[in-house]
């Protein structure tokens, strides 16, 4: 080995180690950057380049070393597993959030809301049993009934509002998804231009990870390193082209409306795909919203079921009360109060207690609100008044007794049965089911988030930066640089000495 060769080898070694130190510095600088993958330089011994040098010298490393490659610590399999787990976790997180919204409303069904008002109403009807002619008691009874109606209306409006909020969330998320799809197409293009660089790969991974929050990310990697992304069988992005945008439809004016999706071609305005698009979302926040708004068939509470149950409760209550209020079979009939010549007497009741037959429309009959005497607290059996005079039986409160008894009558249907529970039990059952579903989904969300976090940690452990490791490498490369510099200096001195001798 000549002295010049020695100088060249040490010079190259200094350059190599300097580059390695630059990479270490870059790793340290990006220590806390989310998604950053550590890099490491790989060295290789130089092969012989002249006739006088041979294989043996190559093996002994007498030709020096050079940088063969820059390794990126990316584990594609683990990354894909991680975004799959993230989609699962986001599905349950979003669903849990939506169910918590439903549970907040369900709180209004229990002892903080509707059920408490029902109890107040039955207390008022019990008072009516005691004092069927007392105007104040009648007013209290009517107000208690109106409070129930107001609460039904309020809860129904809250369900509508929640439904509308969640649809707005769908719209917002769809907008984000479409932006991300566009970003992916651009990142794919940049990736090709940058010759599949680490930076562009990180960018693509970041987009895919973000997309996994909203939907299941089904990808296909092309030979040039770009990614196609699919929804069902349809490619939304192919290489650097975004083929479709996703659009959501929901009729907020129709309480039974379901959310649906379609694909709009970005290339042809009239090319729209509608079939199976909604079913193609199988994970992520989109699937959670679809299940929550449309019902999943998985048995957990959803906004439409809760609305239907509330309507059914309102309807059962209104029908049962109206039947008692206006009962008349020809011989036995409900009777309200009226005043004739200054005297309070009974008359056949004709005014129903409630108008409207679902939670959003139920109201106390305006005539009764205005005149509580129209409440029928009495029930007259004409057979008991062979000589007439029933009009004066104003102390009769048999109808009020029947109303109080309604508290224990099975007028609601729950769990597939028919008239198998009281109104109060029905409300409690709904609140309880909602609570249990929320607890169940919150538990699942925690579990799936744990899995996603664990995979993210595994991925970070493989691809992330460890400061101590970087510093050890930095010392290693520094020492190697110093050693090379020493060799260079020694050879330089040696050459100087030789020249001096000459």
């Amino acid at each position: 080995m000549s002295l010049n060769q020695s100088m060249n080898i040490s010079l190259n070694s200094m350059k190599n180690n300097q580059y390695a130190l630059t990479v270490v510095s870059q790793n340290i600088a990006n220590l806390h950057v989310e998604g950053y993958h550590r890099q490491r330089v790989d060295f290789q011994t130089n092969r012989y380049t002249t006739d006088c040098e041979n294989v043996i010298s190559t093996i002994k490393g007498m030709n020096g070393a050079s940088i063969s490659s820059l390794s990126d610590f990316i584990d594609e399999g683990l990354f894909n597993e991680g975004i799959g787990a993230n989609s699962d976790a986001q599905y349950y997180n979003t669903l849990a959030d939506a169910l918590e919204g439903l549970e907040d409303i369900a709180d209004d069904l229990g002892d903080n809301g509707l059920n408490a008002l029902l109890n107040d109403f039955f207390k008022a009807s019990a008072n009516l049993e005691q004092f069927p002619t007392d105007m104040t008691i009648r007013q209290q009874y009517v107000m208690a009934a109106q409070n129930i109606c107001d609460k039904f209306n309020e809860i129904s409006a809250k369900y509508d509002s929640l439904q509308s909020d969640k649809f707005q969330n769908v719209q917002n998320d769809i907008q984000v998804i479409n932006t991300l799809l566009g970003d992916l197409a651009s990142a794919n293009e940049a990736h090709v231009k940058a010759n599949q660089s680490s930076e562009t790969q990180v960018k693509i991974n970041e987009i895919l990870k973000q997309l996994s929050n909203y939907m299941d990310v089904s990808t296909e990697k092309n030979a040039n390193g770009t990614y196609n992304i699919f929804l069902g069988d349809m490619a939304l992005v192919e290489g650097n082209v975004q083929k479709f945008e996703i659009q959501a439809d929901f009729d907020s004016t129709n309480p039974d409306s379901a959310v649906s999706f379609k694909l709009q071609s970005t290339e042809k305005e009239d090319f729209v795909i509608t079939s199976n698009v909604t079913e193609s979302f199988t994970n992520g926040s989109m699937k959670a919203y679809i299940d929550f708004l449309n019902g999943s068939g998985n048995g957990f509470s959803n906004v439409n079921d809760m609305k239907a149950n509330l309507n059914s409760a309102a309807s059962a209550f209104a029908n049962a009360l109206n039947n008692i209020q206006t009962y008349d079979d020809g011989t036995v009939f409900a009777a309200s109060l009226t005043t004739v010549d200054g005297e309070i007497v009974l008359e056949k009741a004709t005014e129903p207690m409630f108008v409207g037959n679902d939670a959003s429309t139920i109201q106390v009959n305006g005539a009764i609100l205005e005149n509580p005497f129209l409440v029928s607290a009495a029930r007259i059996d004409l057979d008991k008044y062979p000589d007439g005079g029933w009009e004066k039986s104003i102390g009769n409160s048999d109808n009020a007794t029947l109303i109080t008894a309604l508290q224990n009558e099975n007028i609601c249907s729950y769990g597939g049965g028919q008239n198998n529970c009281t109104l109060s039990q029905f409300l409690i059952n709904n609140a309880a089911k909602n609570g249990m579903d929320t607890a169940n989904i919150l538990g699942k969300a925690e579990t799936y988030q744990g899995v996603a976090d664990s995979l993210a940690t595994d991925y970070a452990n493989i691809t992330g930066v460890n400061l101590d490791e970087e510093l050890a490498d930095m010392i290693k490369y520094q020492r190697a640089f110093e050693a090379s510099a020493k060799v260079f200096s020694t050879v330089n001195d040696l050459i100087g000495t030789i020249i001096g001798m000459v």
Partner: protein, 303 residues
């Protein structure tokens, strides 16, 4: 195993976050004095609490009705007792008048006194509890005994046939708590009822020639009325006793159900205080460890 620096910092911050969450949860329980504020926090216990509150509310209604019935029954019992006293006085006056030594003048004086006593009885039969006449049957706003144009006391309440006033005192159980005047003083037929008989007695006592035997016979009318009143009082007494017993049972049930509700819903403050102390210690420990981990010595410090 290789561990990235970000993993170490994430674990430290997560651990601090989790410890704080436990601590905050216990603080929330203490502040609200409830073991759960949402159904999903403990669906099973929360459902039980809802059902308990529902049952308590029903019992509250029953207790209120029972109390109202007892109050009215007590008033009826006392009123009937005082009517019996009046009947007893009238009885003694009739005995006095039926004595052969009684002169028509004395009989007239006795007639006046008896008439007053009868008027007192009719007044007592017009006793009201709150807004309702308690002996008018279902005609609660109708004064049951009034004088007609001829000055005769006549019954205006509902007949026994017209039915009763009822109150719900338990699930599927109603309690009848009213009386009609007819039940006590007989059907208003203008001849055989108590007040018609008393009118007849008045005529006998005001006659110029006294029929002692006919006067004495009127004692049977008083006996009959007294018997009916005693019978009614017995029924009232039995009913009040039954109501009292139901009230007591309900009170015990309410106490038990309230205890159950409190056990399930409300925070055991001793346990919560201990849990809070533990959580506080754990939180401080996690802060200490977290701080150490986050500011841990790395190789950088040796450079």
């Amino acid at each position: 195993m290789r561990i990235a620096t970000s993993t170490v910092t994430n674990l430290a911050t997560n651990s601090m976050g989790n410890s704080y969450e436990v601590y905050a949860d216990i603080l929330k329980k203490i502040a609200s004095n409830k073991n759960f504020t949402k159904m999903s926090e403990n669906p099973v216990d929360a459902t039980k609490v809802l059902k308990l509150k529902d049952q308590l509310s029903q019992l509250d209604i029953y207790q209120s009705n029972i109390q109202a019935a007892i109050n009215e029954m007590d008033l009826a019992y006392d009123t009937l007792g005082s009517i019996t006293d009046e009947l007893s006085i009238i009885n003694s006056k009739i005995l006095e008048a039926s004595n052969a030594t009684t002169t028509p003048e004395s009989a007239k004086a006795l007639a006046t006194e008896i008439k007053e006593r009868v008027a007192i009885i009719s007044d007592k039969m017009n006793t009201k509890y709150l807004d309702n006449y308690i002996f008018a049957g279902t005609y609660v706003h109708e004064m049951p005994y009034v004088k007609n144009d001829a000055g005769e006391i006549v019954y205006k309440g509902s007949s026994e046939l017209a039915g009763d006033r009822k109150l719900t005192i338990a699930e599927n159980t109603t309690f009848t708590y009213n009386f009609t005047g007819e039940e006590i003083f007989g059907e208003q037929d203008g001849v055989n009822d108590f007040f018609s008989q008393m009118r007849e007695l008045d005529e006998l006592l005001n006659a110029d020639e006294l029929d002692y035997s006919a006067i004495r016979n009127k004692i049977s009318v008083l006996d009959d009325a007294t018997k009916k009143i005693t019978l009614t009082q017995g029924k009232v007494s039995a009913n009040v006793s039954k109501l009292d017993s139901t009230y007591e049972i309900n009170t015990d049930t309410i106490t038990k159900l309230t205890e159950d509700r409190v056990d399930l819903e409300e925070v055991d403050i001793t346990k919560a205080a201990t849990d809070l102390a533990n959580a506080q210690t754990a939180l401080q420990a996690s802060y200490l460890i977290g701080t150490n981990v986050l500011s841990s010595v790395s190789l950088l410090d040796y450079l």
